[in-house]
Symmetry: C2
């Protein structure tokens, strides 16, 4: 061992001890003949002192040290003259007897400190240097701690971690698969799993009862901001359970994680909200309930006043923005432009100012009396000083726009404190989602989710209106406006699964080709089962109080799916292509690195 | 919840309790108007009894039950008339009040019992049914337990589990990579990792100090028996350590796993053997030390007696097979044929029988006196009743053949008891291995292993003889003749790494293209580091007392790399190929399913 202690552990009570430390040179300062060196490792920083009276060779070596040199030092722990209360080791320093340079370092291209001076691109290229920074070290330590807590909890509840294969079969339904050409079976491909969904259900058929896995998943999507082509899931499944059992188990898990990893007490039971209420009141299936500003349906109240835009709309909804009656015309114009951006897609914005002095001013004064406006305000639970914002159009679309506007204003008004944790179960999701574009239903969760038993008659109906009303025992775990996980009670019956594929417009042949093994498995005694999966990258980020997952992944890819550090993806040898019986038809100038 | 108890937990003290169980019908027997049902889940089997006096509907339902039906039953725990001491629940049975058939089952294609009547192929196709069998359930439970023990131990030692990427860069050195075409970067490919070797070294450069990961690895090899294209490793790395620190840490881990998972006490320290001694005495770099029968170098003793075969051989070695002097001529002929098979490759076999009556008989009587033969026997530590077997040829090749013969005879003589665990560290491996075929050196471990510091002058030499003598601080963990893991102290210096690539005949350009990021990383302050990796699939199998890993993997692939249950690999849609800019040139009749 190159050290007797880490750079984070020596204290005043270690005074007089002879120690050996090893680490990275954070900083070197000369002061009146003395040389002070901050030595860093992942446990902390310890100050080293080379005295003016030290021998020539030692002073020589100390003077050669540069940032990020790796050194080993021997010396004695002394009480410091001027203590540093900001450092846990700030009461002591090491009087150095000897320095051994283990490895020199070129000057790093950016500073290795709490906040670096390097831009995103250079830090990505030198990820191994960025990873030395304390915030990233803390992020990965939190990730390790959370994974360990999850495993300990689930193990104590009788769950078994079972590894499922990564080389599986391509079954494109939803996102694109990454595929892997098989050399031994020319012309064929494996696929990387988008999730172990079918395998965990097979494990239930096999009687494993309580399964989990912290597992990598892969999706070849066009990357939106903060998505990764590979991501990690906490994947769980249970047999002989109903929705209540699943929610109870994972509610206890989350409460324990908050407590053990963050010291945060989450009051149990965690609130629940139906999908319909979430959409109606928050315009989102993942409401942030840390603040109010809920959406109110004003359709009945504002229609028929001669304001054509409202009169012809299916739905009119509003939110009361607290304390913003004083918004200027310019601010309101900016907000109007903001909701009209294609990312939100509203046609316009109606406002009502409830001034502090009791007066009211709106952009629709010519259509509504003050009385009527006060009625609208009351319906939105708005008081003096608040600003009402109204949108109209198709119901769900308008609610979603109001939801986006609500979140934006929550951000602007500082109502979304990352140190406050407000978990929520969203339940009773619709089973199916109609796509106007494709003229077919899609599964809202996935095609293995079961309809609620009481909705079976609707599920067997051929009418679109009936099928739209079918609900599932499906549930999402939402934290601070982000969906952290979700799951459902599954179909466990072959006929029901076949009916599901029929409803989704998947032909018998296609279903047999893609999912034959699971339909078949259901014929040999499948137990009732259900489960859920959590997005682990995002869970880590939220627990760490961050919006972006990138710092919680050791080696993430950029928005083009590239790892710029290792320069991947890249060309492969012609011999490799030949062995795989593959020819690339990519345009020549795209071919490569 | 569909049950109040599992099928493995009720005991005599539960008498009189009203319970609800759920599980699979293992067996139905009718006896004098009574119906007995064995109900199974992963926790055990409980006997259900439907009385002759039960109501008509209940008796009707019981009579319909078939093997593997999934049922839920209500009833009362009663003391059994005729107890079954073989079952933990054998003192009780459930007097059934009601049966709810949760799911019917077709008759499974093989029996779901300790030993199934199904062949390998049918059980692979219906893997989800085979996984219901108790030996497989025990195997996966052991695997979960071992993984959990590993994580708890390493966490308690300050190791952090850090996930490294699965979509990396193809760097073919050794085995073939599986590659993944990138749709977003046409013409380029990711590769699946053969191990996280470079990433864990980068994490050391980043200061993570103590890293581990239980991680999937991928190798596109022509599959030998009992190899899988994807396999799991316990991957570990430490900074500021020497070989002794690594061995100490993982020795403690293994001792703990044996104790906690198997209740087996392994005496510490675990023995160590140099690679040279292992080759000389056991003809293997992974000796099974559960039994003796070591190899003895007889070259000096037997040469020059006029026996041309020995006189012209570089090396003659022998083993003493205990108690086998009585082998018949036929048995010896069979052994001779066995060593001449291409898998062993010996040219012939010389024997010396040390008969119980003190007489000696050998196949080379005309070249050696009885005196000389007794000298050979003494050199091999053979006594009366033993059989000496001698092979000759090139030194290492002959030792290897003797090693294979030794293991074969160990098996035949029952000297390899799977319930006995004899771990061993093999140390001091040569750094390099010369390939006559390719006319170049290969790294014996991998190109990141450091030469022993005292061998640096040899390492800098250009003479083949010098380079062949360079040793590494590399080590393998061997259990019962199987290599379970291995590792080394790594190179942490850019110039040394460049020298290594030079020795391996990897050009500067090639090294830069494939490993530029790690050579570069070493320039910014890399700490001394080392580590190792264990093969987790095989570890589970050996701990379970089995030779084959297949039962310890939930969904393994067959020898053609196929998963016959999901029928993968398979063709993908033409649209998928187009999106990837790929055309397959595989012969039409090879194109998959």
């Amino acid at each position: 061992m190159y050290r007797t202690n880490t750079c984070g552990e020596l204290r005043l009570e270690d005074r007089g001890r002879k120690v050996t430390l090893a680490g990275w040179v954070q900083k070197v300062r000369s002061l009146g003949g003395m040389t002070f060196i901050d030595l860093r490792d992942r446990y902390g920083i310890t100050q080293l002192a080379v005295g003016a009276d030290a021998d020539e060779e030692l002073r020589q070596t100390a003077s050669q040290l540069g940032r990020e040199f790796v050194i080993q030092v021997n010396g004695e722990v002394l009480e410091r003259q001027s203590k540093n209360p900001k450092l846990p080791t700030g009461d002591i320093e090491i009087k150095v007897d000897g320095i051994n340079i283990l490895n020199k370092a070129q000057t790093p291209p950016f500073t290795i400190e709490e906040n670096s001076d390097g831009g995103d691109d250079i830090r990505a290229k030198y990820r191994y240097l960025d990873l030395r920074r304390p915030p990233l070290q803390k992020a990965l330590a939190l990730r390790h701690r959370l994974a360990h807590e999850v495993r300990n909890f689930l193990d104590s509840e009788g769950f078994m971690e079972i590894e499922t294969p990564y080389l599986i079969k391509s079954t494109p339904e939803g996102a694109r698969d990454f595929v892997v050409p098989s050399r031994m079976n020319p012309g064929t491909f494996y696929a990387l799993p988008q999730s172990p969904q079918t395998f965990k259900q097979l494990l239930m058929v096999s009687g494993y009862d309580r399964y989990f896995q912290i597992v990598r998943c892969f999706r070849d999507e066009d990357l939106r901001a903060d998505r990764q082509p590979e991501f990690t899931q906490i994947d769980c499944e249970m047999s002989f359970v109903e929705q209540e059992d699943v929610l109870d188990t994972f509610e206890r898990m989350m409460v324990k994680m908050f407590k053990n990893a963050l010291g945060v007490e989450i009051s149990s039971p965690i609130p629940r909200m139906s999908w319909y209420d979430a959409m109606d009141n928050y315009g989102s299936d993942k409401p942030d309930i840390r603040f109010g500003m809920t959406i109110h349906d004003l359709s009945d109240r504002v229609k028929g006043a001669g304001f054509g835009v409202f009169d012809s709309a299916e739905y009119i909804g509003g939110i009361a923005v607290p304390g913003c009656a004083s918004y200027t015309r310019k601010q309101l114009d900016e907000l109007t432009e903001w909701v009209k951006r294609p990312q939100v897609g509203a046609k316009g914005l109606v406002y009502v100012r409830l001034n502090e002095d009791g007066s009211i001013k709106s952009s629709v004064d010519k259509f509504y009396t003050e009385e009527q406006l006060r009625g609208i305000a009351a319906a939105c639970e708005a008081g003096a000083g608040d600003l009402l914002l109204l949108l109209c159009g198709e119901k769900r679309k308008t609610q979603t726009q109001l939801g986006v506007l609500r979140i934006e204003l929550g951000n602007r008004l500082g109502l979304r404190n990352p140190a406050v944790f407000a978990p929520l179960w969203v339940v009773d999701f619709p089973l199916l989602e109609w796509s106007e574009e494709d003229g077919r239903f899609y599964a809202m969760h996935h095609p293995f989710t079961a309809p609620k038993p009481e909705h079976l008659p609707l599920f067997m109906s051929d009418r679109k209106e009936d099928l739209e009303r079918v609900c599932a025992n499906a549930y999402d775990f939402v934290l601070n406006g982000t969906e952290l996980g979700g799951g459902s009670i599954r179909i466990h019956n072959a006929e029901m699964q076949e009916r599901m594929f029929e409803v989704l417009g998947i032909s018998k042949e296609e279903a047999e080709y893609k999912f034959g093994f699971i339909i078949n498995a259901f014929k040999f005694g499948a137990p009732p089962h259900g489960g859920l999966a959590f997005g682990f990258d995002r869970m880590c980020a939220l627990f760490g109080g961050q919006e972006t997952i990138r710092d919680y992944i050791a080696f993430p890819k950029n928005n083009q799916g590239r790892d710029v550090m290792i320069d991947s993806p890249s060309r492969i040898d012609a011999a490799q292509m030949d062995e795989l019986f593959l020819v690339s038809t990519a345009p020549a100038d795209d071919k490569g690195i």
